[in-house]
Symmetry: C3
Subunit: 264 residues, 3 copies
């Protein structure tokens, strides 16, 4: 079981190294993902053209693939980049946004799953849809409690050989054997678009500079949730929350992390 | 004539139901539109790929089509989604951004108009261009006063059988027979990009949960304008205004709506 | 050597005229670029479809081409718009984002350079890559000090017959003969995505309303840097900095410009 001190050590190492994180992500999430990566200390690159996606995956420290806004040419780039990442042992994250909502989305996510993502991060509906269980997907918002998807996550992790994270009120991270719960965040975070996508991007940054995917994922989600939780204090609404979250990712220090992170 | 109490009732009903609103909108507007929908209480989905746009229109409570950043494949998706919406009786909104500025834009907007949008929302230049009158379109900013476009709006509503809203200093909403004016907002709102697009998205949310398109449009624009007006108080500039608007959409309560909305 | 009074005069003239600036820019930068242009007093249009890019370049006061997120059809639009701009004597700006990072990017930037951009604005890595010198490009962040790229910039300006600006701790602007340094900004600006892209957009606005490209570029960068410098005061992190920068672009007055701008 990782400790808050482990979280701080992983965060500090990431900030020191400032890893280059390639994102093939949706149009809505690009802004928040890039800004969250910069604020946290990483170096984002939004590179998705088929002409360069594979090239870039060869120099990135991690690759984040997010299917939020899909088109056939982007799906090809996602495959190219994920394939290069797998071949080179570069960690890559799959964010199966709204899997289950349309057949195109579910099929795309399932095909990417074949390329063994280091980490899959989604909400309960998305993880259930991916695992083939019956989710009640309604757009990109989760309508299932995270806990209901825990079995599906473990099953999925068994299939990919990687880590699966189900985020929600409590985040559950599993590699099929070990399971860690991260408590934190704030319900108002669900009122800001692309929060989950930004969390996936931060997972990518931690994966790039940590040896162990389960630990990296737990640490990333703990830091992101803590930043959101702190940002929500005194925020009248989601507009304020969004920019304060970036300030928190930038200013979080050892004391705040050690005293604020809650793992179980 | 709707009353401020009607506006509150429509807003409250929308928040209770949290409708799923599909947006095929421009790259610049996606962020603000999605965040405005979330803050107001709806559930946004940005789904525009031809492979899934029609599918998704089948499950959405409303569809918002915005031609701000065009490409041929997106235009096809717009037609697909609008056609499904029309067939199923799902309300859909057309936002003819910068119609009149290039022939491609004017042609695209005119073709979508054939699919009988439930509501068309634009500024005076755009509505004039769409109605075939001579606008002096200059990018996406309106250079005609809203009032000049009122006749064009009524004419357009007669052609589509739907509602047409001309937004500006005063918003004018008409179904060709009845006309309602919504006073509110703040001039600084014009200094934030995609404000009109976000207003269109909010119209979509209200359409999804109201029976009557004219009423829904008036209520949506009244709520959006009030949020902007309140957000502008004490804002030194458009940067602050933008996030405060989201906070206001999230926190607006009955008292604020009843005392703040001005219809005539 | 321009004076702070020249900067104010150019800014004031730009605000009076509110030029229409066409941007073919990347997905991440669209939001901040459009909002920065609006806040500063210009009229942005994000028009990149091949069906209308050339048309629109014919009516724009300036064209800004940014290769941040590339795809083949957009590259064609970039060429179309730049060609129209050159033919008509409309100023156009090239922002060679991450040139040097992939061969696709470097090749695209080099080809656009053949169309004689009025201004090229990049960080040191990008300018070095473009000039054929050896940059150590790492994503979109600069890893070379601006000063190292000054020779490359002068060389490049000689080749295009235009102006080249290398932005960093100190911005260096040259037409190959004259060189002006602009001191300002804040290191935290590098923690907000698309800041450089927004600076390029503002250069476009000033070019549209000034006679002299070197002066226009110096004035634009001085105003943008000053806005960022003032926004950083008291900002706890990059989230706050971003919206305050927009407020500053909107509120900057003669006194602030005269007392704050530092040129050498």
């Amino acid at each position: 079981m990782p400790t808050p001190a482990d979280v701080w050590a992983a965060f500090d190492a990431m900030r020191q190294q400032g890893p280059l994180v390639q994102n093939i992500t949706n149009y809505v999430a690009m802004d928040l993902s890039a800004n969250a990566l910069l604020a946290a200390g990483a170096s984002p690159a939004m590179v998705h053209a088929r002409e360069e996606a594979a090239d870039f995956a060869g120099i990135a420290g991690a690759v984040v693939v997010n299917i939020g806004t899909l088109s056939p040419s982007w799906v090809e780039s996602m495959h190219d980049a994920a394939r290069v990442a797998r071949e080179r042992g570069t960690p890559w994250v799959l964010d199966p946004v709204a899997a289950g909502a349309t057949s195109y989305r579910t099929k795309t996510a399932a095909e990417l799953l074949e390329l063994n993502p280091t980490v899959v991060r989604g909400n309960a509906s998305e993880i259930l849809a991916l695992a083939g269980a019956a989710g009640s997907g309604k757009g990109v918002d989760s309508t299932d409690a995270s806990s209901a998807a825990v079995d599906a996550a473990a099953d999925l992790a068994g299939r990919t050989g990687g880590v699966v994270a189900v985020t929600g009120d409590v985040d559950v991270v599993t590699d099929g054997t070990r399971t860690v719960r991260v408590t934190g965040g704030d319900p108002m975070m669900a009122k800001v678009t692309a929060m989950g996508c930004a969390a996936s991007a931060i997972v990518g940054a931690f994966l790039a500079t940590a040896d162990e995917p389960l630990l990296a994922t737990v640490c990333a989600l703990a830091v992101f949730g803590l930043a959101g939780e702190r940002a929500a204090v005194g925020s009248p609404g989601p507009g304020t929350l969004r920019w304060r979250l970036l300030d928190e990712l930038y200013t979080l220090n050892e004391r705040a992390v050690i005293s604020g992170v809650r793992l179980s």
